[in-house]
C-alpha cells in the first residue's frame, strides 16, 4: 500500500523540470567582458602603476592627453596638480568598485536576511520590517543618502554605510517575495515534516530558490550603487580626496572644464562604460530569468 502511494505521488509530481543543457549566452558573455576588465584593473592596476594621491608636479600640470613627461607618456593627460589622469582613473576604479562590492555585500546581506525572515515568518515580523521599508521608500533614495552621508562626513567607510542603509530595501522586497512563493511548496513542506529546523529550511531549502531573482537584483544594484557613490562623491559627500573615486575626480576637474576638459571627461567615460555595461547586463539577466519581473 505504501509503495503504491509513493508511485502515485511520483507520477503526479507537477513540478518536474527536465534538465536541459544550457547554451552559452553570447550577449551576457560580451557584456560581462568590460566589467571583468574593470575588475582586473581595480585589483591589479594599482600594483602595476605607481600612484601617490598627494604628489604634486606643478611643472607638468594640465597637459593634454598624449603628452610626454620625461620617459613617461600621459596618455590621458595630467590634472590641475600634475597627476597622471590614467593613474588616477585606475586608482579610482579600485575605490569605486570596492564601495560597490562592499555595499552590495553588506546592504544586500542585511536585505536578504530581513527578506527571508519577513517572508518566512510573516505576522508582526513581516509587518514591522515591511513598514520600515515603506517609510524608507517614502524618501527619494538620493535624498536619504545625502542626509546620512552629509551628517557622517566624507570617508570610504561612511559611503559604504550610507549606501547599505539606502539599498537593503530592494533586496529585502525581492527575497521576501521569492520566500513567500517558496515556503508553501511541497519540498519545503516535506522538509518541515521531516523535522528540519527553521534555520535549516531557510538556508538549505528557501535561500537557493531566491538566488536566481537575487542575481538580477545584485547586477542592477551594482550599477545603481556605482552611480550613487559617484553622485555623492561629486557633491563632496562621498570619498575623501586622498581616496578619490571617479565621481570625485569628475567633480575636481569641473573647474577646469574649459581649459582641460580631459580631467572630468576621462573618468566619466570610464564610469559610463562600466555602468552602461552593468545596466545592459542586468537587463539581459532579467529578461532571461523572468520576463514578468519587469517593473
Amino acid at each position: 500500500m505504501a509503495e503504491l502511494n509513493l508511485n502515485n505521488t511520483l507520477e503526479n509530481e507537477p513540478e518536474f523540470i527536465p534538465v536541459v543543457k544550457k547554451k552559452i549566452n553570447w550577449k551576457i558573455l560580451v557584456l560581462s567582458m568590460p566589467v571583468v576588465f574593470f575588475v582586473f584593473i581595480a585589483i591589479f592596476g594599482p600594483m602595476l602603476i605607481e600612484y601617490n594621491p598627494v604628489n604634486t608636479d606643478t611643472a607638468n600640470r594640465l597637459l593634454p592627453p598624449g603628452s610626454q613627461i620625461g620617459q613617461h607618456t600621459a596618455w590621458l593627460g595630467t590634472d590641475q596638480i600634475g597627476q597622471d589622469v590614467l593613474a588616477q582613473i585606475i586608482h579610482g576604479a579600485r575605490i569605486s568598485l570596492s564601495v560597490a562590492a562592499a555595499t552590495v555585500l553588506i546592504g544586500g546581506g542585511i536585505g536578504v536576511i530581513l527578506g527571508l525572515l519577513s517572508g518566512y515568518f510573516g505576522g508582526w515580523v513581516d509587518t514591522v520590517i515591511m513598514r520600515i521599508a515603506d517609510i524608507q521608500l517614502s524618501f527619494p533614495t538620493i535624498l536619504l543618502a545625502i542626509l546620512i552621508a552629509g551628517v557622517l562626513g566624507p570617508s570610504v567607510t561612511n559611503v559604504i554605510i550610507t549606501l547599505s542603509i539606502t539599498r537593503w530595501v530592494t533586496f529585502a522586497r525581492v527575497v521576501r517575495g521569492a520566500t513567500i512563493s517558496a515556503k508553501n511548496k511541497d519540498f519545503v513542506d516535506s522538509a518541515r515534516v521531516i523535522g528540519a529546523s527553521h534555520f535549516r529550511i531557510l538556508t538549505k531549502y528557501i535561500l537557493p530558490v531566491c538566488l536566481s531573482p537575487l542575481l538580477v537584483v545584485v547586477t542592477v544594484q551594482i550599477g545603481l550603487v556605482i552611480i550613487s557613490e559617484a553622485s555623492l562623491s561629486f557633491l563632496g559627500l562621498g570619498t575623501p580626496p586622498d581616496n578619490a573615486s571617479w565621481g570625485l575626480l569628475i567633480s575636481l576637474g569641473r573647474d577646469y572644464i574649459s581649459t582641460a576638459w580631459w580631467i572630468s571627461v576621462m573618468p566619466g567615460i570610464a564610469l559610463a562604460i562600466l555602468v552602461v555595461c552593468v545596466g545592459f547586463l542586468g537587463d539581459t539577466l532579467r529578461d532571461e530569468s523572468d520576463p514578468y519581473l519587469n517593473n
Binding site: R131, F139, S264, L271, A272, V278
Partner: protein, 308 residues
C-alpha cells in the same frame, strides 16, 4: 471609495511620521556633538554649552524627539545660522526654481518619450523598437551629473550657444531640464509602449478595424487616449522623483533651487536649513504619492475593490 480614501490618508500620515523620525534619528543620534560641529574647531566649551542649551540638545532624547515633532508640525525648523532668519523661509524662496526645473523636465520627457513610445509600439520587436529600447537604456545608465558636465563643455564652452550656470531665462533651463529628464525617458517610453500594446488587444480596436478605419486613426483617436491615462498618473509620481534627482542637477548647473541650498547647507553644517529642505522635499513626495494613489482609485475601480 470613502474607506479607501480614509485608509490611504492615514497611511500617508504614518509615512510622514516615519519621515520626520528618520530626519530626527539621522540628525540627532549621530556620533559627535552637533553644537561642536556647528561652531567649528575654534569654539570654547562655554560657547558649545550655551548653543546646546539654546537648541535644547542637553535634554533627554525623547524630550527632544517630542519637541522636534511639535516644531515640525508647526513648520518651525529653527533659524539658519548661516543665512539668518527662519530656515523654512529660505527653502520656500528656492522652491519655485526647483518646481520650474522639475516641470520643464517632465515636459521634455513627455515631448521626447511619447513619440518614441508610439513608434516602438507600431512594430513590437521591429528595428525601430530595438533601437529605441537600446538608446533609452543607454540614457538610463549614464551618470546624469557627468552628462551635464559634457553638455556644458559642448554647448557652453565649445559652441557657446547656451549659458552654463545660473537661472533667469528660458535658455538657462534647457540643459538642466534635458539632463534631469534623460534617465526617465527610457522608463516612460516603456510605459507608453506597453500601454498601447495592451490597449491594441482590446475588442473595440477590432471593431474599429472591421469598420474600416485607418490604422493611424485608430491609434491616435481611440487607443492613445485610453493608453495614456495610466502613463499620465505615473508621471505625477515621477514629479516627486524629478524633484529628488534635481538636487544633483542643480549643483552641476548652479541652479538656485532647493537642492543646491541643501548641499551648501550640509557642507556648512547649517542643520536648520537641512532639516527644513529635506522635510519639504519628503513632504511633497509623500503628498504626490497620495494624490496619484487617489487618482488611480478613481480611474481604475479594480484597485479600490482590491484594497477593501
Amino acid at each position: 471609495m470613502a474607506s479607501y480614501l480614509i485608509r490611504r490618508f492615514f497611511y500617508s500620515l504614518f509615512v510622514i511620521w516615519g519621515a520626520i523620525t528618520i530626519i530626527f534619528a539621522v540628525l540627532r543620534i549621530i556620533p559627535g556633538d552637533p553644537a561642536a560641529v556647528m561652531l567649528g574647531s575654534n569654539a570654547t566649551p562655554e560657547q558649545i554649552h550655551s548653543l546646546n542649551e539654546s537648541l535644547g540638545l542637553n535634554k533627554p532624547l525623547f524630550v527632544q524627539y517630542g519637541q522636534f515633532i511639535v516644531d515640525v508640525l508647526r513648520l518651525d525648523f529653527g533659524e539658519s545660522f548661516r543665512l539668518g532668519g527662519p530656515a523654512l523661509t529660505h527653502v520656500l524662496e528656492r522652491l519655485p526654481f526647483t518646481i520650474t526645473l522639475a516641470f520643464t523636465a517632465i515636459l521634455f520627457a513627455i515631448i521626447i518619450s511619447f513619440p518614441l513610445g508610439i513608434q516602438a509600439a507600431r512594430k513590437p520587436n521591429g528595428a525601430a523598437d530595438r533601437i529605441i529600447s537600446f538608446v533609452s537604456l543607454f540614457g538610463q545608465s549614464l551618470p546624469t551629473f557627468w552628462v551635464g558636465i559634457v553638455l556644458i563643455l559642448i554647448f557652453s564652452r565649445v559652441l557657446g550657444i547656451l549659458p552654463s550656470a545660473g537661472a533667469g531665462s528660458v535658455a538657462h533651463l534647457i540643459m538642466p531640464a534635458f539632463t534631469l529628464c534623460l534617465p526617465f525617458i527610457g522608463m516612460i517610453v516603456r510605459l507608453v509602449r506597453s500601454g498601447i500594446l495592451e490597449e491594441l488587444r482590446q475588442g473595440y480596436v477590432q471593431t474599429a478595424r472591421s469598420k474600416g478605419l485607418k490604422q493611424n486613426f485608430i491609434l491616435y483617436i481611440h487607443v492613445l487616449r485610453n493608453a495614456l491615462i495610466p502613463v499620465v498618473t505615473v508621471l505625477g509620481l515621477l514629479l516627486g522623483e524629478f524633484i529628488g534627482s534635481a538636487i544633483i542637477i542643480e549643483v552641476v548647473f548652479s541652479w538656485p533651487g532647493i537642492g543646491r541650498l541643501l548641499i551648501n547647507s550640509i557642507l556648512y553644517r547649517d542643520y536648520a536649513v537641512v532639516q527644513a529642505a529635506i522635510a519639504l522635499i519628503a513632504g511633497i513626495y509623500i503628498i504626490l504619492n497620495l494624490i496619484v494613489d487617489i487618482l488611480y482609485g478613481y480611474i481604475d475601480p479594480r484597485i479600490r475593490v482590491e484594497e477593501s
